[in-house]
Amino acid sequence: MTDIPLAHVLILSSLLFTIGFVGVVVRKNTLFMLMSLEVMLNAVGVAFIGAGSVWQEADGQIMFMLILTLAAAEVAVGLALLIRMQRRYRTLDIDVLSKMKG
């Protein structure tokens, strides 16, 4: 059992998570926002796998399976909305969607 200390796994997943988060915040194109969402979810998957392996339990991996299904569902709905946005606003720039204010 390659004894990678738990801290390293957690730090890796946190880094990956922050990369994904920054991707959501910075990217202007909606498609890339969805992609960075995926990155964040996968980062969490890594954390779960790491934690699961430390405790020698399958819970972590089951949770990862659930996260995968979640990611799939979200992307499906996200892409559907993407198409609607493209048809309605002819652009994928996210800042078009900011009419409600105050």
Partner: protein
């Protein structure tokens, strides 16, 4: 995508557990049946009636279970994932009531559309199912599952009316933000799991295995991340930015659904998680709770000050109200969690009643204005002089706004009284002063709303409501409004009617 547990062998699910879980099972069975119904005959009225039927049956079943003695004490544990006790089913009752109201209200909204909207009702049932899972969950996995069922189906509902101008914007915002929030929550769960090794709420201190030494930092950051995910859903202060836009953009019944069902479910699961993990003696967690509560009390009230759009105003006021509710979490010891639960449930029912009333009147005035062309949102100026034109809805709005403001004679005051009781017992002076200042500022926007009902300037500058302004309200709606008014007054003056039902 509900997993129906009957397939696995029965040793896991004894009959007694089966009975305890029966309302949620009935609900999921109902969803499957409505899918079949859609496949058989697509008629708008049929699916609406069927959904209402399902919700009523679930409600009756839950009430029957509550009056029975199965759920006494700490409740029955169903597999490690779920734990059913009195309080979860009490909040499930609240959820079913508000879902039933949402369904009956949206029948009139959907009637004006041309094609059949059966998936609308299906999504609402899914939301209720998600809330049901959340309410009884005792394990992070069930928490996660319920959370996701709730959020994904809400995304569908929020952008339902495609041709509304903000539909896409609302859908997208809700999707991205709830996805981020759920990933933050998951990260938190991962960190907690990595430290404690068990995902269920029940506290078990199994020892750290050989190599990794316990990293206390990850545990507290994990709790914080978990709380931030839940706080997002409850639109508490620092994470509240999404709620005004989503409340304004989505169709009114769905706003009501979000304001009531999703928040009640999330709050119940937050209390269950905190009390079972006894986070309350974790000093930093209490600190976070106090900061977030203070922030949301102040930010929620201050933002609502000059708000003219009624939906956004309701969003801000719900931020403030859940800020008040957080006082319940600052419990100091295990045995008075009972008292905290009672306070929370009473306050939630008062909040629900007030929101349902205001949104019903909002829907009526919206329906009236729709056939007057222009689907701009309802602003306070549209409600001018409503007291002199149709008195019942105006009186209803007055009493529900007073309930939100926490003035006696209404249920809201007794709820606030319980919260204050809680706060004074545990000497959380900061929260008390936050509550006092918050309700002071709150009056600055609740009162103009009430006075607007009395204003009857003859010269309405932006002529939105026609001269007569008298809405034609179906007798059913009037009866419904009358019951709402009577119940809010009755429970306000005689709170024992509700509390003896809770306290058994």
């Amino acid at each position: 995508m509900s997993t129906s547990p009957e397939i696995t062998n029965s040793v896991i699910l004894s009959t007694e557990m089966f009975i305890a879980l029966s309302p949620i099972l009935l609900l999921s069975f109902g969803i499957v049946l409505s899918l079949l119904l859609i496949a058989w005959r697509r008629s708008q009225k049929m699916i609406a009636l069927f959904t209402q039927f399902i919700l009523v049956i679930t409600l009756l079943l839950t009430i029957h279970l509550l009056s029975g003695d199965i759920l006494v004490g700490s409740g029955t544990q169903i597999t490690t994932l779920l734990n059913v006790d009195r309080f979860s089913y009490l909040s499930f009752v609240l959820i079913c009531i508000s879902a039933f109201v949402v369904v009956s209200l949206s029948r009139s909204v959907l009637k004006s559309e041309v094609e059949v909207h059966d998936e609308y009702y299906l999504l609402i049932l899914l939301v209720v199912l998600g809330a049901g899972i959340l309410v009884v969950s005792d394990h992070f996995a069930s928490l996660f599952l319920g959370f996701e069922v709730l959020s994904i189906s809400l995304v569908g509902l929020v952008g339902y009316f495609r041709e509304h101008e903000h539909a896409v914007e609302t859908g997208f915002k809700y999707l991205i933000l709830s996805a981020t929030a759920s990933s933050f929550m998951l990260l938190g769960i991962a960190f907690i799991y990595s430290q404690t090794g068990n995902l269920s709420f029940a506290v078990s201190s199994n020892v750290m295995p050989w190599s990794a030494q316990p990293l206390q930092i990850f545990n507290s950051v994990g709790i914080l991340l978990l709380f931030s995910g839940i706080a997002f859903k409850l639109s508490l202060a620092p994470f509240h930015f999404w709620s005004p836009d989503i409340y304004q953009g989505s169709p009114t019944p769905i706003t009501l659904l979000m304001a009531t069902v999703s928040k009640v479910a999330m709050f119940t699961v937050l209390i269950k998680c905190c009390f079972s993990q006894n986070y309350f003696n974790n000093e930093s967690f209490i600190e976070i709770i106090t900061v977030v509560a203070l922030l949301s009390m102040l930010v929620g009230n201050i933002l609502a000050l000059k708000q003219q759009n009624i939906k956004r105003l309701m969003a801000y006021s719900s931020i403030a109200h859940f800020g008040y509710l957080l006082i319940v979490l600052t419990v100091s010891s295990l045995q008075n969690t009972e008292f905290a639960w009672q306070g929370a449930l009473f306050y939630l029912s008062a909040y629900l009643l007030a929101n349902i009333a205001i949104f019903t009147v909002l829907l009526i005035s919206e329906k009236h204005r729709d056939n007057m062309s222009g689907d701009r949102d309802i602003h306070i100026v549209d409600w001018h002089g409503m007291f002199w034109k149709n008195r019942l809805s105006a009186v209803l709005v007055i009493f529900s706004v007073l309930a939100l403001a926490g003035i006696p004679l209404t249920m809201g005051f007794v709820g606030k009284f319980y919260l204050l009781n809680q706060a004074v017992i545990f000497k959380s002076w900061w929260l008390i002063s936050g509550l006092v200042i918050g309700s002071g500022i709150g009056l600055a926007y609740y009162l103009p709303l009430i006075f607007a009902l009395f204003k009857d300037e003859k010269t309405l500058e932006n002529q939105v409501v026609d001269g007569s302004g008298v809405y034609l309200v179906t007798t059913g709606k009037q009866l419904f409004m009358f019951t709402l008014l009577i119940s809010s007054l009755l429970f306000g003056i005689f709170p024992d009617l509700v509390s003896q039902f809770i306290y058994r």
